[in-house]
């Protein structure tokens, strides 16, 4: 029983230390308010090479979407994202989808790649295996879309469906700056 108290104390400390602008802690918010980038594993899939990516990449405007293969809305909105990706393909925009579902037990990397092919993904796709990015963005569901500026400051976010117009306007206003 005493051990419980000790752990409780440790957990309380963690919570206190985290604090800050984000409810769930562990965010290393830099002076300009941007979030810490994470090195995520990328998958070998259409538009995506196996390896790693820095997400969100400092110095670039980033559009990122958190998704999962079980998520119907994620699948239904892939064509919209595809249209937007095509429109900005020639720009310096970082455009990346990140699955935050657990990979390895009931869902494999191959399952994600199959899903990606089925839904005509054609841009980098990565995995938030440690859930750090998800936690940092405080994303309580999928699909959750974010636009971040060159300093990794979130300038727009949306949970659920996104219209192409809304997405273009959110991205365009950052690229034009």
């Amino acid at each position: 029983m005493r051990r419980r108290d000790l752990l409780a104390g440790a957990a309380a400390l963690t919570a206190t230390a985290a604090g800050g602008a984000y409810a769930f802690g562990v965010v290393d918010v830099s002076d300009d308010g941007g979030i810490e980038p994470f090195e995520l594993e990328t998958l070998e899939a259409p538009g995506s090479d196996a390896g790693t990516a820095i997400v969100p990449e400092p110095g670039r405007v980033t559009f990122l979407e958190l998704f999962a293969t079980w998520c119907d809305v994620c699948a239904q909105t892939m064509p919209t994202k595809g249209d937007v990706f095509d429109e900005y393909a020639e720009t310096d925009l970082q455009f990346v989808s990140v699955t935050n579902e657990p990979i390895g037990n009931t869902v494999t990397r191959d399952d994600v790649v199959d899903w990606w092919e089925t839904h005509e993904g054609r841009w980098p796709v990565a995995m938030d295996g440690d859930l750090e990015l998800t936690q940092t963005l405080d994303a309580a569901g999928v699909p959750y879309s974010f636009v971040l500026d060159e300093n990794n400051v979130v300038t727009w976010s949306n949970y659920g469906r996104t219209s192409a117009d809304g997405l273009q306007s959110a991205i365009g206003s950052q690229l034009d700056d």
Binding site: R2, D5, A10, W70, V73, E101, L131
Partner: protein
Amino acid sequence: MTPDPRPVDRRTFLQATAVAGATVAVAGCAGSDDDGTDNVVLPPPEDYDEVVAEEMAIPTYGEQVPELAAPDPIRDVDVTTTQFVGDSHSMYTFVFTRCEEACSGLMANLRHAQEDSINEGYDDELVLLNVTFDPEYDTAEVLDQYERDYSIDQDVGNFYSLRPETPAEAEEFVTDGFGVAFEEDESHGHGDDDDHGNGHDNGHDDNDDHDNGHDDNGHDGDRVHYAHTNLILFVNRDGYVERAYHPDVPTPADVIEDVQTVVEGW
């Protein structure tokens, strides 16, 4: 280990040291004897107010899980909430499967917790229970598909889908028992209907042409909508609430961290 930030009663601390010294490295923590939280591992949630908590409809931190029973039609067993006391920690959430919004986040948290329990080898110490409050639509077949859609591991044996058999029984279990209110939302599609507080711009805009007729029994299926309380309830092996995640849907990393803390601290 760094000192606990809370005020420490030195005598209590010394006693604790004496008791615990033989088995673990000790840091300064006097325990929490004064707030009735002897039965839990986790510290109180941030901004915890015992008076406010007591008035909430949902079971909150340090309270006992209500005793209720409902069948799991997939596994063909009756499950009573208290049957896990003395045996496993448990985690509950409450959804309707046609939900496109917060429910997926709630269910995903259980999915993540199950995965972690398997990966870290504590799947025999944690039970996950998804409870539907829409039994008329959420039949055994629908619930089974729902589990499969979320890639729930159906072989490991620590996941249940509970289905109170009638709307009245659903209300008794979910609302009267767990304080989770739900109501079919006649006007749905206005984006303020699920209080997950993320300021999202709602999941229905693209479908407004479907919304106005409100075809609840029609099987355009997923167009039915309930306003409902978001709750994930994490109950420890002794039957006490470690965390009531509410009203916002938590992110899985936070839930897993809490679960691991309790599993390791038990």
